[in-house]
Subunit: 208 residues, 8 copies
Amino acid sequence: MSKPYTRLDKNNAAVLLVDHQAGLLSLVRDIDPDKFKNNVLALADCAKYFELPTILTTSFEQGPNGPLVPELKEMFPDSPYIARPGQINAWDNEEFVKAVKATGKKQLIIAGVVTEVCVAFPALSALEEDFDVFIVTDASGTFNAITRDAAWDRMSAAGAQLMSWFGLACELHRDWRNDIEGLGNLFSNHIPDYRNLINSYTTFQPEK
Amino acid sequence: MSKPYTRLDKNNAAVLLVDHQAGLLSLVRDIDPDKFKNNVLALADCAKYFELPTILTTSFEQGPNGPLVPELKEMFPDSPYIARPGQINAWDNEEFVKAVKATGKKQLIIAGVVTEVCVAFPALSALEEDFDVFIVTDASGTFNAITRDAAWDRMSAAGAQLMSWFGLACELHRDWRNDIEGLGNLFSNHIPDYRNLINSYTTFQPEK
Amino acid sequence: MSKPYTRLDKNNAAVLLVDHQAGLLSLVRDIDPDKFKNNVLALADCAKYFELPTILTTSFEQGPNGPLVPELKEMFPDSPYIARPGQINAWDNEEFVKAVKATGKKQLIIAGVVTEVCVAFPALSALEEDFDVFIVTDASGTFNAITRDAAWDRMSAAGAQLMSWFGLACELHRDWRNDIEGLGNLFSNHIPDYRNLINSYTTFQPEK
Amino acid sequence: MSKPYTRLDKNNAAVLLVDHQAGLLSLVRDIDPDKFKNNVLALADCAKYFELPTILTTSFEQGPNGPLVPELKEMFPDSPYIARPGQINAWDNEEFVKAVKATGKKQLIIAGVVTEVCVAFPALSALEEDFDVFIVTDASGTFNAITRDAAWDRMSAAGAQLMSWFGLACELHRDWRNDIEGLGNLFSNHIPDYRNLINSYTTFQPEK
Amino acid sequence: MSKPYTRLDKNNAAVLLVDHQAGLLSLVRDIDPDKFKNNVLALADCAKYFELPTILTTSFEQGPNGPLVPELKEMFPDSPYIARPGQINAWDNEEFVKAVKATGKKQLIIAGVVTEVCVAFPALSALEEDFDVFIVTDASGTFNAITRDAAWDRMSAAGAQLMSWFGLACELHRDWRNDIEGLGNLFSNHIPDYRNLINSYTTFQPEK
Amino acid sequence: MSKPYTRLDKNNAAVLLVDHQAGLLSLVRDIDPDKFKNNVLALADCAKYFELPTILTTSFEQGPNGPLVPELKEMFPDSPYIARPGQINAWDNEEFVKAVKATGKKQLIIAGVVTEVCVAFPALSALEEDFDVFIVTDASGTFNAITRDAAWDRMSAAGAQLMSWFGLACELHRDWRNDIEGLGNLFSNHIPDYRNLINSYTTFQPEK
Amino acid sequence: MSKPYTRLDKNNAAVLLVDHQAGLLSLVRDIDPDKFKNNVLALADCAKYFELPTILTTSFEQGPNGPLVPELKEMFPDSPYIARPGQINAWDNEEFVKAVKATGKKQLIIAGVVTEVCVAFPALSALEEDFDVFIVTDASGTFNAITRDAAWDRMSAAGAQLMSWFGLACELHRDWRNDIEGLGNLFSNHIPDYRNLINSYTTFQPEK
Amino acid sequence: MSKPYTRLDKNNAAVLLVDHQAGLLSLVRDIDPDKFKNNVLALADCAKYFELPTILTTSFEQGPNGPLVPELKEMFPDSPYIARPGQINAWDNEEFVKAVKATGKKQLIIAGVVTEVCVAFPALSALEEDFDVFIVTDASGTFNAITRDAAWDRMSAAGAQLMSWFGLACELHRDWRNDIEGLGNLFSNHIPDYRNLINSYTTFQPEK
């Protein structure tokens, strides 16, 4: 019995960056900090590159959770920025849900800290309202592999699709020829191995 | 096709702490003992903090399985305490099932030792009787990752939701403003990184 | 929507030990050899203890796959022993299927080497014929964690329940009081930590 | 409720080798390079041995992704070879889909680099068009275990069956007696432990 | 050729707790946070229990490194507390060295954050001045296992002895009978497994 | 500059089994319990097989540390058995040291629980008195890899030789022909892979 | 017997960056690529910040080893750049050794790819000529942990000191007050956790 | 105090391949079988390529240890082949020692199975007779990491240098220009990543 391929479409997708805050990031221990920073910025670069409406939100940022990492603020100066005064589930914040629905997009790309709360709660809420939900697993972080795997199971059982930032970029881009340099830069900036491939490649064929 | 978000509701949830006994705890080797003790006590603190009806039960505690860890007894002096004389599946003990149903709650939060028996069996029994079941994965322990992952698969396939104690606390609390200090203390007492955040935070703004 | 708890019943279960052969065992590298030997013998002890009809089978044992480990032969001298001349899926061997169906049991407990072939193939075949299938994950072995996890996914997606030998013993035994000493011995012989519990326990209360 | 066993049938299966390119292979870090090379060549040997129609394709091979590894080209000189000029999802390339459908086979065996893109995208597309899809997990590679496990979840949730090259060979071969030497060579060439079994076996019985 | 056993002597040992600060602790990722907090507090309990002169010091605590964790301050209200204004190597701070030498002890027990700086630097300086140096490896933390193992090698090559807090307690205590309850409490408070042993032990022989 | 090879000599070696007690064994988490039990019994079998004077000792066995595992008592009914009333370092117990020296052996083979205390302390004491010390690393256990590696470093720096039970058996046996069957049985009983080799070997050449 | 603390001195140290080439970097699999890129650039930033004479060298860069990563070239436009035409041990290249000795520095800080060749060989050669050698372990990479640990052992046994880039920066800087902002920026740019500490710190005390 | 760099010299080195036998190889579980087979054959290729006198030996090969892997026999038809009838330490076999000394080489490159016996024993014996000993760690295998690390410590403490096959090849080759193609082939055949580098390299510059 065939199952429809709910495929990311850059014209129908929005990005929700939930609670990547300076304090909360110290709780993330299921992924290496250098890799996690790179993955989150790679997702942000994807959102800008594919011009996806992006919504930033924080949880109780005046408290120990701390401020949103400045890089994200700087990258999305004009995006809706919802500093939730208390709602732990972003979907409980009306302003946030309004911003999401205002994008008019049916596909929600969600990443955040920590995975089982700041990502899973809005994901489960959005799935309940029939959105297509795509979790960027490697741009989300939590305490350890046990809490991560449990959160993945809960979201996947509810119909969320588990992705990575690289898979997301490829599914949105569809075809290299749409913009070889653009996609190449995105990969070069966030995949050291790919940067090395490009450096070797350009070195061996200087004349091109 | 949207899937309802069966969301933990502190007014409709009960906690079942199954067989955290001094002897059985020596069988737990899929999680570090310091972390496991902290997670189990964190779950117990959640049950008290959110005033969730809590049921304690042990399996054949006069034998080598040993006594319930004293901390749990001391924290829930008035909770139903069912020392099962032999039933390995707590749900086979009438007194236990009666106590569960007496809570009038539809959402059962279950943790125990070992995962594939003392947690899975009552979970599968409760699911059969149409309860909503939430497994606190990081406050449950077993021999190794193989037995854990197999137990997770069996419970998830039957409809149990796999949670962590932190995710549980957040889903029950809903909004920081319900009690900032209370939730803050809960996290400070059981998440060393969060305690450090609070210490730095209060140090840097002594006057608040 | 409640899901029936298909619970192991010692009066309705049979054990299929598939291809635990001296040669094939050298391919098993997803579990420590001392632990794997102990788990397989523990499962065998369970089959004898609960008097479950047990079927032994080997794959092309005259070749490099080698003989069935002698311990299993010695433990089940009267069990059907099908040395499959060539069928890789035991369920393709009529004699084997006949022996399975002759047990009259609806619940098939399967363990073998390697997991994605000697366990998965008969499991998927049995599921197709509406048997309830229980995989003893820690008494099955394969090349590495990647092949194991893939096999688990394939079998679980088809409806097999993933168990461990300890979970199996507990679900079959139901109640300690059915035979405290019997179950105690089973655990003492195959769980060093439980043996230590019993030794300490009996030492501290010599008179009982 | 029984579930049909969609079993690999060598008369109804085709192999899709997607983007095993010299450059992309440097991105693969979720499996050891010696093991990965061996697994990919083992899958290729299976395709040849079982005479399965095999389709080779590359993604933008003139760029840093680099050429298809020469071993695969040499093994399948007459197979359709689609150097996709830009389509990231091979199923978006008409020539590729035409070649797939030209095989007349309903069962598609897919392996590639990286798992969440070059394998998952065509797999999800093929599932949508009611093909039976078998993922050769250990002949596919990606950045790390997080991206791999997420890709597995996405494909399995859509109905793909997760296999390993060894499981694939066994399911296709069905019975040792179809060709003992052939299957033995396949294993000997790609499973060092099996080669050792055969060497010991033949040494101990030189006369056979 | 025999080598003298430089054995910890509670009458000749001092404890140096270097830079266990709220901010720096977020850099520690080579040990689980719950275990690390427990180990550091266990070492502090040892220092108090064996009445070892203890010196607390912090590095630039007004900055992001943050305050010393309050628990240590509260446990050693009367101990020398040197808030180093800038010296990264505590041994470069005269006040610190003076305090160390004022203890009159030849054996220095050092733990701190991070291992390759705050522990290694004063350790190497102290070794140069012919002190006997004991590193409490599991009460020291750093970025990852690579930096830890390198720091261990550097300190061990210079003559430091690598210990753990439990080994330290045992070597200082020499004989259970010096204070059975005292050592038992120390272990019970910081080794969950030992606490379970004691709980089972006392339960099984209530009358003793 | 050549370094003498201090080689185990069965005529000059004694075995010290220190504190393998039922309670203390629950602290051992740096090695799998099934493997550890097998390794300790393998070492004991070596001691009996090579007829090495063997000394058993326990630490405060009336307390929670618990009794010596019965298997060791049963295997060495006539060996000196020193139940140390309190000395944590066995070498502080005169009776123990007297028993060691009474063996007249210069090479001391030490294993125990936990590694950094019950093994390291007597090892360092013995090295100080110019004994040749051989640590059976895989028949010694402790809390985790950090405490183990630190203990190894401390003992190796003092001149102890780090061995495994299999290396010990081989160095003592020198030549297969001294007793092929004896050594074969020792390996078969404690190395499942070797048992499989023997089973295949004997099966393929029944006549020998 | 005291051992001198050979302490890094920014006035007496030079940095040798050996073979961080685009092709060779694809061989590095003992450390995560994002972390490794960050560590190498952190070391380069240290060399610039502390104004240490820095020598760049490559091995047969016209071949598959590929070009030096462009970031290092751009950071040290005026540093000696020795493209070794064939010498695998940089110390076999006269121009290289001349450049090293021309720095007049006795302390050589070495990092490179791969660890057991491009780092170990010049390190062992330099030690032979009585240089003090400091290996930046986390800015050096190789095939896997086995080859790394073996290389560490070989270099450490010869007297090299095993460091990390962070330890190096701290030992060179000596005192925060020499340049709080400078060291703070270095850490902020290369330690995501430290960047988060600074962001939280500055947020909570905006007025400073 | 400088330490001489005892550097491998192809004119002064011999290779000892000890007990890589079909049966014993099933005991090797501290390294992946595909990688181990590749590493052993890579070492053998080095021995042939650098024309190093090579000695093959087996331990009791008529028994379950099994025959030497055929690849090594075929590669060194004219090398001394000592089938030790019983000596577990190859250095106890006169014929073996005679063959070693007959090479006239002072540098002995040793690899074998298992590490703590078949490699360590002859290594320690050779060190005692003032040979320079180089252990090829990744072409030697044993039960697990504990036994390996212990063996490494024992050999390193006695003065053996711990190498890898790649480090060995580089130290022997000294300069690419001695034979670019030869060394390139050696790497291409045994390092899949290097083969990919060469394939990409030659593809991008076909005319060279």
